[in-house]
């Protein structure tokens, strides 16, 4: 199965939220969930707990997981959406290229 549930924003990908790998089994998912809940208990971090709980509900039910996978793809979404979550290598250039921008005269 793919590592990422398509259609889910990077922050909402259930596997990313629980920090489990693609082929994690039920036991591993449950252990990750309990670990996360200890880190973000509901009384202290309600919003984060809700995210964790939703992610767990999604992952442990194969039907919900599959439906999310089926419907999470939107063929009409802009192509620029392909770049969401993709990390581009940021290259050091030295100061000249940066200063060229600040020195550029306005049109």
């Amino acid at each position: 199965m793919t590592n990422h549930i398509p259609g889910a924003a990077p922050n909402d990908d259930p596997r990313a939220v629980l920090e489990v790998c693609a082929d994690a089994g039920d036991e591993e998912i449950r252990a990750a969930y309990l670990r996360k809940v200890k880190e973000y208990p509901p009384d202290r971090s309600p919003a984060e707990f809700e995210r964790i709980r939703d992610a767990y509900d999604m992952l442990r039910d194969p039907r919900r997981r599959t439906r999310s996978m089926l419907l999470g793809v939107d063929p009409r979404k802009p192509l620029t959406g392909l770049l969401d979550g993709v990390e581009f290598e940021r290259r050091f250039t030295g100061p000249d290229a940066w200063l060229a921008v600040t020195r550029e005269k306005k049109a």
Partner: protein
């Protein structure tokens, strides 16, 4: 303006004031003229006039006027940012009059700063005597214009230890460090740069750049927000934001920076945005060009995304109507037809909804997706995941109205040639998947086929329940489905109950009994199971008695008598009635008499006892000597009601004999109402089952006289009983019944009302029926219905067709009847503007359908984007 006036103005513009011969002073008129020209912003004219005055007068005053005019002109040019002309003028006047250097000493540095050099501005700061306001103004200028901290640091107009130079040097070092490699946060503290320093924005910018390189976009954005928007450093904000993936318009230098620093994000993002825009505009030529550029950009900057990008673009291009061959060429080769592709294609067809064939196309694409997904190990070949996909395909099929499904499936079968063209040019691991799976059997066009596969893949109760419901609704394969369910899930009750009820309907009582015993083992407390034993025993006993095999009925009768539930309510009376028949057939007169006595005692009502015995005799097809039976009124309705209820409860078949029908109707419509709501409800249900709507209506008349708790039940009966021309009343009665049932939490009644609406009145206008009724409305309706005691046997005149009595009825229902068109179509015609409706009403059925299609489609049949089955050119490549 007239020519004369123009000339006059022209003259005025360049005219010198009338020469005052020999005047060595500046005239007030001349001063006024200069003021006027300056106020009108005619600085060039003012300079010319002032120069002319000075040439004539040559006094200190005139010289001052000339200097004022020059200064005003030059400052005006600076204000308009006409730097080149201002600088030229400045040089000229400073050469002509050295005193102008002092007057305009701030202009030159300003012009210099604008062109990148801040040295001049800094020179102004060197003057310790400058007033604080002016100093602040200069520092503000430096903040706005200083595009290079290193130049400030290197400018020796100020002493090396000057705070500004020290700050600039620190900023330049930090900028150099952050743009060459990772730096520690401590090294960006920059204590030399104070909050009020002109270089404070640069401090924030340097930290933003450090955060950018540390991939901490949130922190970068935080620092960018702290940079003043008017500061020179803020020119980097759009570039940084674009490099973090936000939308921003970039200058050429910013684009160059992005190309070097961001790994291609900006370039690729712009290429993809261009494709999106071209596809959105459906500019095919531009789209193809932009597609090839986007692929090239992706190959350069992000080769790993090329496969996904080509897949997305090929499907997006299909949606925009581009031809597959051209797109393939633009892509530089076919997109990879793996599971991701087929999923994308299936979703595209789902969303497209261009016509009825999009559903089977989507389902077929999902089928391809399944093959590849299993092959690529997205999920196993059996399991809840694959069942979910099947159920999703089933949901798609439900978009097609049930009566059209077969036609659509046939069209698809006939025209669809498969996806083999899509697999041309594909790598072996993709092509081989099709070899593994064999011919397409189009199972995905059959809801039954999909449910069967879903149950096989994921044999959970919900799936089987859906399959069995569908089988029952369509009157096919119910037993087969229930048998499969029972085999897959032996502990589930519903399939066993279904099989039991099916066997019972077929009179296969032994089998039904065995299944009932099995059900009792699984769930003895289930209400359906608890009723089943008694019901089956009664049915078995009746069969033996019908066959006049009384002795064979003995075991069943003994079992019935031993059942605890047979002692409840009126059930012992039924047992007594069966015993009467048994003993009569066996010749036991005394025993038969005793049984009759017990029956009468149990029912405690002669009429009810005789009604029950009558029904038992009818059920047994008793051919012997009929006993004497009396059916007295009042009380017949109540008696028959009790018997109907008992019949529903125990499976005893009940039918109202014709001989009693009139008497019953009279009683129901009479003044002495029956009081047994349960019995009346059972009687009403019997009437509906037997399609005796007049009787059902009469029962509702009696029922509506009962206590309020029965209003829901009998309003529903009223709705069911009314004829088709009384839809308004039906709708209102059903709505009121529904509302009352909701309040009473009578879920069984709500379910029955819902089922009746679904099955009986597809064309119902549910608008009124679905709106919750208030208590006063319900009370008013009940009061009105109570007064409507007569069954509306005849339709109103307007509803009837008549060629002799007057014009034909023009209502939608009559027209639909006459023309054989769907009623909802006629109702749509009625909703059109009158002139159009008049024309449409005159058309024949086929012409009308065509016309309505045109109207709905917005004009004559247009060339649809995809009117036909997809051929190879249509399939995204």
């Amino acid at each position: 303006m007239s020519l004369r006036n123009k000339k006059k103005n022209l003259d005025t513009r360049h005219a010198m004031p009338p020469e005052v011969k020999g005047t060595a002073e500046v005239e007030p008129r001349e001063r006024a003229l200069l003021e006027r020209l300056r106020s009108e912003r005619r600085f060039v004219d003012a300079v010319n006039v002032a120069v002319g005055i000075h040439q004539r007068v040559r006094s200190a005053a005139s010289e001052e006027l000339r200097r004022d005019a020059w200064e005003a002109h030059i400052r005006w040019l600076v204000g308009r940012e006409a730097d080149r002309e201002a600088l030229a003028r400045l040089n000229i006047v400073q050469a002509l009059d050295p005193a102008m250097r002092e007057r305009l000493k701030d202009v030159a540095p300003l012009l210099e700063a604008r062109n990148g050099g801040v040295e001049g501005l800094m020179g102004l700061l060197a003057d310790d005597g400058a007033d604080p306001a002016k100093r602040a103004s200069i520092e503000a200028r430096i903040r706005r214009e200083a595009g290079d901290p290193a130049r400030i640091a290197a400018c020796d107009v100020l002493p090396a230890e000057h705070p500004l130079r020290v700050a600039a040097a620190a900023v330049a070092r930090a900028l150099d460090a952050v743009t060459r490699g990772p730096v520690a946060a401590e090294s960006l503290a920059l204590p030399e740069v104070s909050r009020s320093s002109p270089l404070a924005p640069w401090k924030m910018m340097v930290r933003a750049i450090a955060a950018f390189y540390a991939q901490d976009d949130a922190l970068c954005e935080k620092y960018l927000s702290a940079v003043e928007p008017t500061a020179a450093a803020s020119r980097l904000c759009p570039a940084l934001r674009a490099m973090m993936g936000q939308k921003a318009k970039l200058t050429p230098a910013a684009l160059t920076l992005a190309a070097q620093a961001d790994g291609g994000r900006v370039a690729l993002g712009q290429a993809l945005a261009a494709v999106d825009a071209a596809l959105e505009r459906r500019d095919h030529k531009s789209a193809l060009f932009k597609i090839s550029r986007a692929v090239a950009a992706c190959k350069m900057h992000r080769p790993k995304l090329v496969v996904a990008l080509k897949q997305r673009m090929s499907v997006g291009a299909m949606l925009a109507g581009l031809r597959a061959g051209q797109v393939a060429q633009a892509l530089g080769g076919p997109s990879l037809k793996n599971a991701s592709f087929w999923r994308m294609l299936a979703r595209a067809h789902e969303e497209d909804r261009a016509g009825p064939l999009d559903v089977p196309l989507a389902a077929s694409a999902w089928n391809e997706f399944l093959k590849h997904a299993v092959h690529e190990r997205w999920f196993p070949a059996q399991g809840p995941e694959i069942a979910t996909v099947y159920l999703h395909m089933l949901e798609l099929l439900r978009r097609i109205p049930q009566d059209e499904q077969e036609g659509v499936a046939r069209s698809f079968h006939a025209g669809f040639t498969g996806w083999r063209e899509s697999y041309k040019g594909q790598p072996p691991e993709v092509r081989d998947v099709t070899a593994l799976t064999g011919r397409d059997d189009f199972y995905y066009l059959s809801p039954d086929g999909l449910l069967e596969r879903a149950c096989a893949a994921d044999p959970r109760g919900e799936n089987f329940e859906a399959w069995l419901k569908r089988a029952k609704d369509n009157g096919e394969r119910g037993d087969e489905v229930a048998a499969q369910w029972a085999a897959a899930r032996p502990l589930d009750i519903p399939p066993v109950l279904h099989l039991m009820q099916s066997a019972e309907r077929r009179s296969a009582f032994r089998k039904a009994f065995r299944l009932m015993e099995q059900a009792e083992l699984l769930d003895g407390l289930n209400p359906d199971v608890r009723k089943a034993r008694l019901r089956l025993l009664v049915s078995m006993a009746l069969r033996h008695l019908r066959q006049m095999k009384a002795r064979l009925a003995e075991p069943e009768l003994a079992q019935i008598e031993a059942l605890p539930q047979a002692q409840q309510g009126d059930r012992p009376a039924l047992v007594a009635g069966l015993r009467w028949v048994y003993w009569t057939l066996c010749g036991g007169t005394a025993q038969a008499a005793a049984a009759r006595l017990a029956l009468g005692k149990q029912m405690d009502d002669h009429t009810a006892a005789d009604c029950l015995l009558l029904m038992v005799l009818a059920a047994c097809e008793f051919k012997g000597s009929m006993p004497e039976l009396q059916f007295k009124s009042p009380g017949l309705a109540g008696a028959l009601g009790r018997v109907c209820a008992l019949g529903e409860d125990t499976g005893l078949p009940v039918e109202i004999p014709d001989a009693l029908s009139k008497q019953l109707m009279r009683e129901l419509l009479g003044k002495e109402p029956a009081r047994d709501g349960t019995g009346l409800a059972a009687l009403g249900a019997l009437a509906i089952r037997g399609e005796d709507f007049a009787l059902a209506y009469a029962v509702s008349v009696a029922g509506l006289k009962l206590a309020d708790e029965w209003r829901a039940e009998f309003l529903f009966l009223r709705a069911q009983a009314m004829p088709v021309w009384s839809e308004e009343r039906q709708a209102l009665c059903a709505a009121a019944a529904s509302e009352l049932a909701r309040r009473q939490r009578n879920l069984d009644l709500l379910r029955r009302i819902g089922k009746w609406r679904e099955e009986e009145f597809m064309w119902f206008d549910h608008t009124r029926a679905d709106v919750a009724m208030t208590t006063p409305e319900i009370n008013e309706l009940v009061a009105k219905e109570r007064t409507n005691r007569g069954y509306p046997a005849k339709p109103p005149r307007s509803w009837m067709e008549s060629s002799d009595d007057g014009p034909l009825c023009d209502c939608a229902a009559c027209r639909a009847n006459r023309r054989g068109t769907p009623r909802e179509l006629e109702e749509l015609v009625d909703s059109m503007p009158p002139e159009l409706a008049k024309v449409l009403k005159g058309l024949g059925p086929e012409e009308l359908m065509r016309a309505m299609e045109e109207i709905a489609g917005g004009g004559p049949p247009k060339r649809r984007r995809r009117p036909r089955m997809p051929d190879d050119e249509d399939i995204p490549f």
